[in-house]
Symmetry: C2
Subunit: 354 residues, 2 copies
Amino acid sequence: MKICVLPGDGIGPEITAEAVRVLKALDLKLELEEAQLGGAAVDATGVPYPEATQKLARAADAVLLGAVGGPKWDTLPREQRPERGLLGIRKDLSLFANLRPAILYPELANASTLKAEVVSGLDILIVRELTGDIYFGQPRGIEMREVEGRQQRVGWNTMIYAEYEIRRILKVAFEAAMKRGRKLCSVDKMNVLETTQLWRDIADEMGKDYPEVELSHMLVDNAAMQLVRAPKQFDVMVTGNMFGDILSDEASMLTGSIGMLPSASLDANNKGLYEPSHGSAPDIAGKGVANPLATILSAAMMLRYTFDQEEAAARIETAVKKVLAQGLRTGDIYEPGTTKVGTREMGDAVLAAL
Amino acid sequence: MKICVLPGDGIGPEITAEAVRVLKALDLKLELEEAQLGGAAVDATGVPYPEATQKLARAADAVLLGAVGGPKWDTLPREQRPERGLLGIRKDLSLFANLRPAILYPELANASTLKAEVVSGLDILIVRELTGDIYFGQPRGIEMREVEGRQQRVGWNTMIYAEYEIRRILKVAFEAAMKRGRKLCSVDKMNVLETTQLWRDIADEMGKDYPEVELSHMLVDNAAMQLVRAPKQFDVMVTGNMFGDILSDEASMLTGSIGMLPSASLDANNKGLYEPSHGSAPDIAGKGVANPLATILSAAMMLRYTFDQEEAAARIETAVKKVLAQGLRTGDIYEPGTTKVGTREMGDAVLAAL
Ligand SMILES: CC(C)[C@H](C(=O)O)[C@@H](O)C(=O)O
Ligand SMILES: CC(C)[C@H](C(=O)O)[C@@H](O)C(=O)O
């Protein structure tokens, strides 16, 4: 069980350190090796996904990532920006299935900006396609063209999906729905985009193979509304890379505690990259106050999806619930009446609760 | 002052009827003529934006639209679906600037699913580009191709913006910001999409001409989050057609009373199409219970933007506030302790309040 650990940038190193401690505390034969991704890699090697990292990541069974990015690298040329590292490793490892749970922990119900009755018990799984769509579609670029009689800059990108890409992500979503509430909502913009008309057609075709799953379709603009209006109507949602980027972040924020939300990005053989749903939070980096729980819960997802260690995964999740019940909170989820702790103390508490 | 009235489908005829009564009650020399758009037009002529409608709409100074669409027409071939009529008229009349206010009326604060303190006083203007982007970009389609060694269906669309399109919508947004809180947030996905990198570059260039406007940039995924987390941070938001479709609907829903929200779609000479932000609600069509206020407020926007009749516009808006203060509510915004009224009664009340 080989794990490649990529601390990344900002709070990445602090939060992955806690997740690594938790992994090591389990009696599993895990081999952990560290490498660089994102801004850290740019600083060290000039590129955001260096060859050494590629080798380690390819050889590993799973990757644990902190977070990448920060203002420091925002002005670099496109190919050197930290997020190219993230997009690079996703594509390189064919991690096409991004699983993003949006779960509201009862203890953190107050953290949401939504009314308690709208979000209490919220438990959505968003399945986002991660290696196709307009993220990677060719052609793309910025160039001078003659438009309306004048030379001017034009920017363009290509949204594109082949049938096999749509089928494999829908399969993941249908199967996830089978293990949960058996409701799948596929999100598209079929009334405008041919790409997503194809998506809807294929979803309907595949739906026949999953008669137990209640398949519905929703336009992306309506989905963005329904997540605010009545998010508990959803069980599993599946959509393309671009819409998934937007909707999964919106859904995370419904909980008000994005510092609690893990994610998994899987290939066809359950090799996966696991990372918190939140970003690198450069403003609090190095201060020891970041919330490590999303990263710790990402490690739990790793044990479940890649290593089939359901018991160990559940142990971690139970430990996290325990520390919440004990009233321990990092700053992002703190409220009066609870105990504010730092990154390391939170890690200690999870270890103790294991 | 020629107005082309397009009742459209579903509740469209009922709600435009009330807005027309309000317009006629003002002492303005308005010429109103009715035509068909959407499903109604398909039923009558076979196409969603028939020639007769094109002629009237082109000759008019402004268009008042109810809503288009309904399940009845969903299975028709693409070119005959009601929304093609809407996209057709937008493009035909070059209505590139879509203005979508998201305002929370104090009397309706409870309607929101968000906590009162998060949304009270909410007043955002979303400026969405409406005639470009992936909505109209070529090439696009679905075809058989050999991919990964197999013949299969592939769907694709093209996101594209030329500099002049970006400049003209940003100009509308900067100028709207000057008349409001002087804060403009431009939304893009520049870390992934070249099209929106160009958008950001041009926004930065133009920002120099509007030193009084505080210009900021936000990635679309973050914008979807921030609208839920802290929507009052925004004054004017500007973005492309696709992202604007999603974010403006999300923002509308923050108020919980989308039945109150008007919209304007303007060309370069302030000719405009005005329509409620909500849809055609086929489930309640013909029952006389739909909320006409968004359409009535759209008529007010028409008087302001196209006819420069600020006083008449304000009169309508004041009348609407008055009926809310009187406690009158259609079903969509009803709560115990208020008086439930139908579409026609609500129109009567606005007329009385004028
Ligand atoms: C950093 C960025 C390229 C990335 C994405 O858009 O996929 C991020 O927003 C995410 O969702 O993981
Ligand atoms: C009906 C549809 C084509 C349209 C759009 O996507 O623009 C609608 O959602 C809107 O926002 O007016």
